[in-house]
Symmetry: C2
Subunit: 337 residues, 2 copies
């Protein structure tokens, strides 16, 4: 293993000079820098991470806590994770992967051991048990997701409330008056992850302003359940012509059942989805949708974190504005026969 001392010797300079060439923390004459860099390449030198961490009190590692639960939104989580990893690399950081499993203990372990300089937490719950720890530690952190109380923490999230509003606005502009929302499984609402409620709230209040009627139904899974759900919706509100779906796995069942019932999309009913871009594009009808900006969330989280690590203060919540892409699943409301 090549050490800094060996590089110094090879280049005929002192160890600190090599260190400063590497860090750029003081000016080095062109000649010296040149020689040192040559030696570094010649010997194939890589600074030892442990020694560096010990001496500088910085590991250049960011911990990323992702939920263990792999049953929901997996591709989105993955996209966020890779965006986090690549963005982190551009700032010289590596990513330590923590699964939710360890829970608050992982936070303690990482902050206590100096394994990572900072952390990013995904899958934040409204009343997340990791928050007190984060508030208590020096360690900078950024949440992807919005807890109920954002005091003393930095968050990034899609503006779910605006997302709900945007969906209903789109339907309103097309002349739809009766809207049904196919939501997540009841468990999601109970778990208080927040995003589902927020979407619904934003949607409902905008609908009220626009004079639309809204019916919300969670959905548990299964084609049969979807058939039942739809029947109930049309029984209760026969003039329903607009659907908002916030549940990736509900997309195909919904389209299939509508088709089976002889309701054409978008001629008879319009569907707006809140789902990953890929799902919207690959569905049997290309869906008008609001996508979760996974890349942007990941990138943003890292940049806020790097800002904090560099001493910039950035508490508070950053909400990303939703964007609705019109595709083939929404159109003008049918004129009453």
């Amino acid at each position: 293993m090549v050490t800094l001392a060996e590089v110094a010797q090879h280049a005929g300079v002192s160890a600190s000079t090599v260190s400063y060439v590497l860090s750029g923390k003081r000016s080095i004459s062109a000649g010296t820098r040149e020689r040192v860099e040559r030696s570094i390449r010649a010997l194939g030198y890589h600074p030892n991470a442990g020694a560096r961490a010990l001496a500088s009190n910085r590991s250049n590692i960011i911990a990323l806590m992702i939920p263990l639960r792999t049953d929901m939104y997996v591709p989105v989580m993955m996209e966020i994770a890779t965006a986090v990893a690549t963005t982190a690399r551009t700032h010289g950081y590596d990513i330590l992967l923590l699964t939710g499993e360890e829970g608050p203990d992982a936070v303690r372990r990482v902050t206590g051991s100096g394994l990572a300089d900072a952390m990013i937490l995904m899958d934040v719950e409204l009343d997340d048990e990791r928050l007190p720890l984060l508030r208590a530690t020096e360690q900078p952190s950024v949440l992807i997701g919005l807890p109920a109380d954002t005091a003393g923490v930095t968050c990034v999230d899609l503006d779910w409330s605006a997302t709900g509003a945007l969906c209903v606005e789109h339907l309103a502009e097309l002349g739809h008056r009766d809207v049904a929302v196919i939501g997540e499984a009841p468990a999601v609402y109970e778990r208080h992850t927040g995003f589902a409620e927020r979407t619904l709230d934003g949607l409902r209040s905008r609908a009220r302003e626009l004079g639309l009627k809204v019916l919300h139904r969670p959905w548990e899974g299964g084609y049969d359940a979807m058939a039942v759900t739809l029947s109930r919706i049309f029984d209760e509100r026969p003039r329903t012509t607009g659907f908002v779906v916030q549940n990736e796995s509900a997309v195909e069942p919904l389209l299939a059942v509508l088709r089976r019932q002889g309701r054409a999309v978008p001629e008879d009913v319009s569907v707006v989805a809140v789902c990953p871009e890929q799902v919207a594009v690959q569905a049997s009808v290309r869906l008008t949708s609001v996508a979760v900006p996974a890349q942007e969330l990941g990138r943003h989280a890292v940049e806020l974190l790097v800002g904090k690590l560099d001493g910039r203060e950035t508490d508070g919540a950053v909400l990303i504005a939703p964007e609705l892409t019109v595709r083939a699943s929404s159109g003008p409301a049918p004129t009453a026969p």
Copy 2:
């Protein structure tokens, strides 16, 4: 920050004693151990990762390289990654997440800096450019996936060839004689990731033994493309009654088009899928399938790696035997009318 020295002072012992209590590398009297452990808890001590890495030349970190490409098999990758992370934790290791992006450079960086003690590589190509580096370094590594040349490397993978064979055997037992394979996109075959070809090879040679006829068609995506593909298949082999699908995203299009054509599953045609369990269960028809044993692959990889780190020699390839689960999509071949 609490240091080992502070713990030693608090407990009235020397630093080395505390260290040995922690590592268990020499016997400690019950009383001393007790006092030290009490002090550790009282002060909330966590060993400093950097110092430990520097002194012991071990970071207790395993690097995991996952593909950046998030367009395929994402949930499976994620499941492997979390299995790797949780298994690693049980052995005292953390996971450093590397995206494929950096390619071979990442390997150099990690091995050179001592950031990680070992690495796990996913998405291995037949002629992977990272292999020469792995063979050249001391650093233990395990591949998830099988390259063309497995000399000097350790691999874990599903036995894809046996998987293909298993699918066709199942159909043969049910009396099907003409089988069509809906495969991955052509790009997948061109990229030489191996698994697709291997599945096909296994399937074909078993089919030959059993006297079945096989038609293979890659599939690019889209419902229309599927309709075209199926028409061609039935034109060429009107008596096709068995389908093997190796492409998660082809599952619903296939089922939808079959339905539209009035072919009932499993009465008229049987479908066997090679796909994640979740897809098989949630499809509009519960699919008879062979699942990628993601958990097992991840767990296995870590255990092989830990074995190597502990000095056990374990080169070569470990192939996991496929398991076929019979569900609602396969049944006896229809008797000719």
